[in-house]
Structure formats: C-alpha cells, structure tokens
C-alpha cells in the first residue's frame, strides 16, 4: 500500500514534463532542425507532444488511484509581502482532462501537419519555413499546458497570453501573403488586438481577486468565496463579469468573436488545433475552473448563459451564408463554443466539458479534412492549369477554399469524404456519434434551466445540422464545377491516418459520458461540484435528433436534389431568403458596424491626439521653447559688437557703477 502510494506520488511529480517536453522539442528543432530535414523536424515535434500525451495518460492513471490529485510546486515565482506565488502545477481530474485533450488532439495534428505542411510550404514557395511552423506548434502546446495545469490565476494568465501569442504567430504564418500582401498580417493583428481587449478584462478580474482575496492560488481563493459572497456579493459579480470579458475574447463569443473567422488565414492545422480544438476552449476551461465563483454570482450566470446561447444562434446564421469551406467551420466553432458557454451559464459544467472534448475531436477532424480537401483542390488547380501561368488571387473562381468551386470531391477523395461525413454527422448531433450525446446534455440542462435559452439552443442545433448538410452536399456531391475539383487528388497517408483516428474518436467519443454510465461526470466530480447531474431525457434526445434530421433533409432539398450548376450559380437559399441571405453572407455587417462605431472613432481620436495634440501642442511647446531661446539669444548677441573699445567702455561703466554703489553705501 505504501509502495503504491509512493509510486503514485512520484507519478504526480512528472507533471512539469507536460510543459518541458514541448519546450525541449523547440530547443532541439531550433538548434539542430536545419540539419535534420523535414522528417526529423516533424518527428521531434510530434514526439515532444506525444511525450506530453504519455505523461498526461500516466497522470490520469495515477488519478484513478488517488482522486485527490496534487499540487506540484516547481519553484517560488513571486514573493512580495503577503503575495506568495509559486510556479506550481495542478493535477486534478479537470486539468488532466484538458491535458489529455490538448496533447492527444495536438499529437494527431502534429503528425497531420508533417504531411500537410510538406505540401503547403511548397505551394507557397517557402520550404525553409517548415521548421518554424513546428517550433510555433510546440510553443503553443507548451503554453496551453501551462494554461491548463496552472495552480494560480497568474500562471494561468501566462499560459493565456502564451497561446494568444502563438495564435498570432500562426495566423500570420504566411504574413506576406493574403489579400494585397497584407491580408494574413491584418488577420493576425486583428486576432491579437481583439484578444487584448478580452485579456484586459481577465487582468482586471485577476487584480480584483488579489485585492479582495489577498491571494491568487486557486484553492485559497475558492475556499474564501463563500465568505466574500456573504459580505460583498457585488464584488464577485464584478470579478466574474470581467472574467467573462476575457472569455468572450479567447473563446470567441459575442461581442468579441470577430477575430476567429479571420483567423482562418492561418494554415489549416493551426485552425484545427488552435482555433477549433484547444485554445478557444480556454475560456470555457477558465469558467469551469472558477465554477465556485460563478455559482456565487447568479446574475453573471444569467449573462453567461445568454451570451453563449445568442452566440450559438448568431454564428450559426452567419455560417449558413458562407462559401469558404473554412469560414463555415469557423462560424460553426463559434456556435459550438456558444453551446459550451451557455452550458456553463446554466450550471452544467460537466456538459460543457463533455461538449468541449467531443467538439475537439470532431471539429479538429472537420478542419483537418477540410485541409485535405484544400490540398486536393490545390493539386487539381495545378494539374488543371498546366497551360496557364500562375493563378490570380482574389477571384473566387480560382479559390481552392471556395465551396462553389468544389463538387463531386467524394469520388476523388474517398477517405477524406468518409471521415468528413463522420465529423459532420457528429457535429450535427446525429446519434450515436459523439456530438449527439454532448449536445443533448446541454439541451437537457437548458430545458431544466431556462426555456428561452432552450429554444434558442434548439434553433442553433437546427442551423448546425443545416449548414453542415449544405457544406457536405456542396463539397462532396453533385458534379465537379471546376477543373480543380475534377483533378483533385486524395492526400497522403500521413494526412489521412490522423483523420481516421479522429474519426474513430468522433464516433465513439460519446462513450465518455454515456447515459447511465456517466464516466466523465464521476471522473470530474472529484474536482467540480455537480449541481446538475446529467440526465438522459428521451423526448429531448429524440426531439433533437428529429430536429437535426429535418435540417439535413431540408439541406438535401435545397442543395442535394438540384446541385449548383456551376461555380457562378447563385446559392439556392439566396432566392428564398433574399436580403436575409445577403446579410448572412455579409456576416450581418458586424465588422462594418465595429468599424463605424469603435474603430473609426478610435482612429479619429488617435488622429486628433496625433495631429493637433502631439504634433501641434506638445511639439509646439518643445519647439517654442527652442525658438524662444534662439530669439532671446539673438537679441543678446547684439551686445557682443566685437569692438574692443565698446568692451572697455562697458568695463569702465561697470567700474563706475560699483564705485557709486560702494561710495553711496557708506
């Protein structure tokens, strides 16, 4: 027994490795990557992340024995007065769940990236950037691991900023490409700045926590929550609302979701790893981690639920009007994140975590298969364009990501088609795929909590199934609408094997928290307080299934029966919905609205500060002082006539003055 305990505790001591292994991968690739070649770089990066996964599995096994978990301090970080922060790792069921998802999905995406980036760096004409990509990817894993394994808010914030940085670096990976040679760089900048607004909220929340609780350590803060809630409940509301601002930034919720669709400028594995499976769920993780604080602030809970539900519906509507294969998935990600946030708001943290996990599986799968489709289209573009010289960007008729240019890909890329279909069904919430169970749990919680939110979420689920049906039908069915689609080619095994593994996970991911077994709930209840035990309510389950099936049927009626004739044909929905479809296609003009309401006035204000204030007032004062000195000196220098006799006269005059003074004083 003692021996077993010793083994277990030594397993917990391994936890710093989840961060250190990716860092080691960076170091190796940085120092030796140039000599190793693409295979070596990819292998080191994948092994580093895979090593993190192995450590996470070991931690999970140790947790099975000892549910308590542990806090493993590495070193004292900051010690000032009463503030005593350690760089400490937290091993409990919640953090280890996140570690497993991040490193597990991360490893698969690393392997996929070896194949994908091999093609991509050649397509973009910069093969030497291969190494940089994997260094960034490992850096992201390290930062994300810091985020999920942190034992205090400040360390979490380090990871939070770290993943934001990696997101910025990877969105702008092809920083000199994109619209007008600036498109990607602009997208990266937008993501960074919008996230900064959210981070500002989180930072304020952390300051307020320190101010009111005197500590940032999770355990100590959460233990003090009831006392603080009793004496000053409004403080908790303010803290949680500021934290929510951070969440809306990182997890792309209304009003700060606008950066995520633009983030699709990054390479597809990045979209899968960072902007679908892991980083964007950090906000959900933060709220689940701070569950105790949210429970003590019911008003915030209400806000959270509404933000999530409205985001789910709104992003679903926009997804319906998009033609870019990745943009559809991006808005779908926002919508699904809305589901998770709503679940947290409804107090169903386990459902949120469950959906987070299954979503990581099937959304990573969808993005990666979309990447595979894009690779195939790029192949087809090159094969079908042998006579032409180069391809002009900007026109959608050449765009390998535009769904109107696809069609009939199923025949050319059968493996990609099958896994894509699985991912789409899982996302649409068709039983028995993973998404069905997790979405159902959220709907059950909504049904118990708030009818309005329940209705909104069902509508969002309907939209989800509809736009996924639309996408699958447009991409894979019908006739090939361009040469590129005609000549598309199935991707290599390095790309498709991770897809198959993710497809398996998307099929069986629902087993994590099967009705009746509730494995995940029992696993998480060691760390979380379960207020809404998961229930399986048959009418809701059947109802949501029917809703999804009807949506798919509708999608078939619109897009399957009579597929788009060619790449210039109008979307069939456009005729039916008219102006509404145009609005959805234009993303409800939210970007333009922000431009007019926030960015435009901000620019005006900045111009005002730059021109009249800085250039005019401040420079005026500085330059004015200079000019004043010069002109005063100009007057004085007239005294220096250069005539020795004048000087002699002034000496005598001075002498006489002194004499007069001395004599009159007596």
């Amino acid at each position: 027994m003692l021996l077993q305990e010793a083994v277990m505790n030594s397993t917990f001591q391994l936890v710093p490795l989840v961060v250190l292994l990716p860092l080691l991968g960076i170091l190796l690739n940085w120092l030796f990557g140039k000599r190793l070649g693409e295979k070596g770089i990819g292998a080191i990066a994948s092994l580093a992340t895979g090593g993190s996964f192995v450590v996470s599995v070991l931690l999970a096994l140790a947790l099975l024995q000892n549910h308590e978990g542990a806090q493993i301090p590495l070193f004292t970080w900051i010690s000032i007065g009463t503030l005593d922060l350690s760089w400490a790792f937290r091993v409990d069921t919640l953090s280890v769940t996140m570690m497993l998802v991040v490193s597990g999905v991360g490893s698969l995406i690393h392997i996929y990236s070896i194949g994908y980036m091999h093609e991509d760096v050649r397509h973009q004409g910069e093969p030497e950037r291969f190494r940089r990509f994997f260094i960034f990817l490992n850096l992201f894993i390290a930062a994300m691991m810091i985020l999920v394994s942190a034992d205090n808010f400040l360390m979490l914030f380090v990871g939070w900023e770290g993943v934001g940085l990696c997101s910025y670096l990877l969105i702008g990976f092809w920083f000199e490409k994109g619209e007008g040679g600036l498109g990607n760089a602009k997208a990266a900048k937008k993501a960074f700045i919008v996230n900064r607004i959210g981070d500002f909220g989180l930072l304020i929340a952390i300051f307020l926590i320190f101010w009111n609780f005197g500590t940032l350590n999770f355990n100590e803060v959460f233990a003090m929550v009831p006392a603080v809630a009793g004496s000053q409940p409004e403080i908790l509301m303010v803290i949680t609302l500021f934290m929510l601002l951070g969440v809306t930034g990182k997890s792309a919720q209304i009003p700060l979701y606008v950066w995520l669709p633009d983030a699709m400028a990054g390479p597809t594995p990045v979209s899968a790893l960072i902007h679908a499976a892991t980083m964007v769920t950090a906000g959900v993780y933060l709220m689940v981690r701070s569950q105790v604080m949210y429970m003590a602030a019911p008003a915030t809970q209400e806000v959270v639920a509404w933000v999530g539900a409205l985001t789910a519906l709104f992003a679903g509507l926009i997804a319906l009007g998009q033609f870019d294969i990745k943009k559809v998935l991006a808005y779908s990600t926002i919508s699904q994140l809305g589901f998770m946030v709503a679940a947290v708001g409804l107090g169903a943290e386990v459902a949120a975590m469950f959906h987070l996990i299954t979503h990581a599986f099937f959304k990573a799968l969808l993005f990666l298969s979309a990447g595979s489709v894009i690779l195939g289209m790029e192949h087809g573009l090159e094969a079908g364009q042998k006579g032409h010289s180069g391809h002009t960007e900007g026109k959608h008729h050449d765009d390998p990501q535009d769904m109107r240019n696809m069609g009939a890909i199923r025949k050319k890329m059968p493996v990609t088609f099958v896994v894509y279909l699985i991912g789409a069904l899982a996302l649409a919430g068709i039983a028995p795929f993973a998404g069905f169970f997790s979405k159902d749990e959220i709907l059950v919680a909504a049904n118990q909590g708030n009818t309005a939110i329940f209705v909104i979420l069902v509508a969002a689920a309907f939209l989800t199934a509809f736009y996924m049906g639309r996408q699958v039908l447009m991409v894979f069915f019908g006739d090939a609408r361009t040469n590129a689609a005609k000549h598309a080619k199935e991707s290599s095994l390095l790309v498709t094997i991770p897809l198959m593994i993710l497809a398996l996970l998307s099929v069986f991911g629902g087993a994590l928290n099967l009705p009746g077994l509730h494995t995940l709930e029992h696993w998480l209840e060691e760390t979380l307080i379960i207020t809404h035990p998961a229930e399986f309510i048959v009418p809701i389950a059947v109802g949501s299934l029917v809703v999804a099936l009807v949506a798919i049927l509708l999608a078939y009626l619109f897009y399957g029966r009579k597929p788009l004739a060619d790449s210039k044909a109008a979307d069939p929905l456009a005729k039916r919905l008219g102006i509404l479809f145009r609005w959805m296609n234009q993303k409800f003009m939210v970007d333009e609205f922000y431009q007019a309401v926030v960015i435009g006035p901000y620019h005006k204000l900045a111009d005002f500060f730059a021109n009249p204030i800085d250039q005019g007032l401040i420079d005026g004062v500085v330059n004015g002082l200079g000019t004043l000195t010069t002109s005063f000196a100009g007057v004085l220098r007239k005294l220096q006539t250069g005539f020795a006799r004048t000087y002699a006269l002034s000496i005598f005059a001075g002498l006489i003055l002194i004499l007069v003074y001395v004599l009159t004083r007596i």
């Binding site: 006539t641 250069g642 005539f643 006799r645 002699a648 006269l649 005598f652």
Partner: protein, 99 residues
C-alpha cells in the same frame, strides 16, 4: 606742495587715459593711454607713501611697473602679429569674433 595737487594730476592723467582707450582707434595710442592710467595709479601710490612715510606704496609701484612692462611686451607682440595678417593696427578692424 599740498596733497590735492598730486591727486588732481593723477585724476587728470587717469581720465585722459580712459578717454584715450575709449575714443582712439589706433592700438598704439591705446597702449599709451593704458600706460597713462598705470602711471596715474603709480603717482597716487607714491604720493601717499611719501605722505604717510610708509615704504609699501613705493615697493608696490615697482611691481606695477614690472607687470606693465611685461604686459606691454605681450601686447606689442600681439600687435605685430595682427599687423602681419591685417596690415593695420586699427582696433575696430579686429571684430571677427563678434556675435
């Protein structure tokens, strides 16, 4: 002779020296005017030395004469150097350092 005569003469000499320095432009004349002022001062020194029967004033005069001689030596050397470049000893021409 009364003391006032000596002092008056000294004052007249000094005034002439001052006016000479201020009004004349010839460097040599200015030097001579300077000497006049030195000697006006010397005259006061010796006058009072005799009046009070103290030797100090007389000794001081020797110092003044020695220093004046040295000053004239330097001054004349400067004058020669200036004349070589400017071909003139008009003091108003030497104004190239004016502001």
């Amino acid at each position: 002779m009364p003391l006032e005569y000596f002092l008056g003469l000294s004052a007249i000499m000094f005034t002439i020296g001052v006016l000479g320095v201020i009004l004349r432009r010839n460097a040599l004349v200015i030097f001579m005017s300077l000497e006049l002022m030195f000697n006006a001062a010397n005259l006061v020194f010796v006058t009072y030395a005799t009046y009070y029967q103290i030797l100090t004033g007389q000794i001081f005069v020797f110092f003044v004469m020695a220093v004046a001689a040295a000053e004239v030596a330097v001054g004349l050397a400067l004058m020669v150097a200036i004349f070589r470049t400017k071909h003139s000893i008009d003091i108003d021409q030497m104004s190239s350092l004016k502001g």
